[in-house]
């Protein structure tokens, strides 16, 4: 994974996530709201895909459709070649929410072990996996701390460890660093890239930060609201190896510019 593989997958490979003409309309008290409109998208194995757009563009909804937490009202979607529901039952993905959502009555080790308990791993296997994933997110030594004893950034890292603890090869992340300050966020972005390089996971990442999207992704999906739709899909030309200061290179700024153009084209800057 350290070599600069071209972004995306080898042509012809079956995509990990394939959405075509996806529609989702919520029935609300104020009438129907079109959260997703005609969304088509392929995500290949090993991709790091960011969904970016203003509030209401449907990026979280799309992630929740992939996770079978919402049902589309039209179009089709497959995850690992099967329906999202089947993929969820196969435990194909780990989901990281905007809030860490750790259980306050469980210490960090037992929080990370939660999915393992539910999926019926043996005690020995649980211990081994908890140790391994806590090491991945640099939280070794905090096993016996309770969530309230950790900073917000550490809590979010623990929740990522929880999503990595079982063998899902897809990681769905819904603005996981949205509530953290800039400095912690930089640090976690860097760690997330290292983690992605060490594992072979496919990551779908929701954000509303342009630098974050450009820094992390191999593919950036620009979305716009009313109705939620995809306005641009940008394949990143940045190498996989990305130090933090890559964000000052002309290439980085070029991609960021294109993202901003995509947002503008989708009228994302109007009436905010």
């Amino acid at each position: 994974m350290q070599t600069a593989v071209p972004t995306g997958a080898t042509p012809g490979a079956h995509p990990v996530i394939r959405a075509s003409n996806l529609d989702l309309t919520f029935q609300t008290g104020d009438g129907p709201v079109r959260a997703l409109s005609n969304v088509s998208l392929d995500i290949a194995k090993g991709d790091f895909v960011s969904f970016i757009g203003p509030s209401g563009c449907g990026k979280t909804t799309l992630l929740r459709v992939i996770a079978d937490l919402e049902q589309p009202t039209g179009g089709s979607i497959t995850v690992n070649g099967v329906s999202p529901e089947q993929a969820r039952r196969d435990r194909a993905y780990g989901y990281v929410f905007q809030a860490a959502g750790l259980y306050p009555w469980r210490n960090i080790a037992r929080n990370v072990a939660l999915p393992l308990e539910i999926m019926g791993y043996s005690k020995a296997e649980q211990r081994e996996r908890v140790a391994r994933t806590l090491d991945l997110v640099n939280l070794t030594g905090f096993e016996n701390k309770f969530p309230w004893q950790l900073s917000g950034g550490m809590q979010q890292r623990a929740s990522i460890a929880r999503a990595l603890a079982f063998d899902a090869d897809i990681l769905l992340m819904d603005e996981p660093f949205g509530a953290l300050d800039e400095i912690v966020r930089d640090h976690l972005n860097e760690q997330l890239l290292q983690l992605w390089a060490r594992t072979t996971k496919t990551i779908a990442f929701v954000t509303h930060s342009i630098p974050e999207a450009v820094y992390l992704s191999t593919k950036i999906v620009v979305m716009s609201p009313r109705p939620g739709r995809v306005t641009d899909v940008i394949e990143s030309t940045l190498p996989r190896e990305r130090p933090l200061d890559i964000r000052e290179t002309p290439e980085f700024l070029e991609i960021a510019h294109r993202v901003r153009e995509g947002l503008r084209a989708g009228h994302s800057y109007e009436d905010v």
């Binding site: 039952r89 959502g101 259980y103 999926m119």
Partner: protein
């Protein structure tokens, strides 16, 4: 009790004592004056005050009269004696604890059914609420009589009256507690394809603990009320309720007050025991101490 709390508590106790003594003198004076009048004797104020606090059947007994009565009927009586307050308190306490235990279990079971089943939610909850709108004093004799007719007497009927009162706060608290998990915590369980049982034991049940203990504090106190009320229609055989009833038949106000104080102390002890269990459990669950 922390040092910072001792003084305020003592001040409140002293104030209650002062008011109680003043009320004793005030309420018992008319009867005492009547006594003086009949005897045709002269009196002065210090005599009057002393006599109002030494009547055999005062309108309001003085605190020290109640204290002496409690002392005599607890420490100085064998606990097996029918005149021992410890004996009566135990009768009431055993019904309270049994009723509280049944009520808590029943409350939890109903709450689980309500949370997991829409039909139960709609059909049971109105009845649960309706049950509490009936005055317990009205329904207690019926329960005793009906259960007697089917051959149940003694501890259980009284305990069931405690249950009747105590299951209610547990149902209401636990329905709230079992629904306490946030949407993302439930979504998380769904991403793991967790079964209903796993969601219950790993998420809903632990989430509901603070609610359970808050409900149990209310439930244990009203269980005691239920047990006492349950003793009233049984012909005042035994228990604190019987002491209250017998005391009022014979105008033994000191006996009534000592039974009341005992019941109050018992309730305070029970509530603080639930509080201690609460602290212990939540501390084990990693709560900030």
């Amino acid at each position: 009790m922390g040092g910072g709390r001792t003084v305020p508590v003592l001040v409140v106790v002293a104030a209650i004592m002062a008011i109680w003594y003043a009320a004793t003198v005030w309420l018992n004076t008319p009867w005492q004056l009547g006594v003086y009048d009949r005897e045709g004797r002269s009196w002065n104020t210090p005599e009057l005050i002393a006599d109002t606090m030494a009547q055999e059947r005062p309108v309001l007994p003085a605190p020290h009269q109640v204290a002496v009565e409690i002392w005599e009927t607890t420490v100085e009586k064998k606990v097996t004696s029918k005149r021992s307050l410890v004996y009566h308190a135990w009768i009431t306490l055993s019904a309270t604890l049994l009723g509280f235990a049944i009520g808590t279990v029943l409350g939890i079971v109903l709450a689980v059914a309500i949370v997991h089943n829409r039909a139960t939610d709609r059909s049971v909850m109105p009845w649960v609420i309706a049950s509490q709108t009936i005055p317990i004093l009205a329904i207690a004799p019926m329960i005793i009589v009906v259960l007697n007719a089917v051959g149940l007497s003694g501890l259980l009927p009284k305990a069931l009256i405690s249950t009747y009162l105590s299951f209610f706060p547990v149902v209401v608290g636990m329905v709230k507690g079992l629904r306490a998990p946030e949407a993302i915590q439930l979504d998380l369980m769904r991403t793991y394809s967790a079964g209903t049982g796993q969601v219950f034991w790993k998420l809903r049940w632990p989430s509901s603990m603070p609610y359970l203990f808050a409900s149990m504090k209310v439930a244990v106190a009203i269980s005691l009320v239920g047990a006492i009320v349950g003793e009233l229609p049984t012909g005042a055989v035994a228990g604190l309720g019987a002491r209250l009833l017998a005391g009022s038949y014979y105008g033994q106000t000191i006996q009534i007050w000592s039974a009341l104080i005992t019941a109050a102390v018992l309730a305070a002890v029970l509530v603080s025991l639930v509080g201690a269990a609460n602290t212990y459990v939540l501390r084990r669950m990693g709560a900030r101490t």
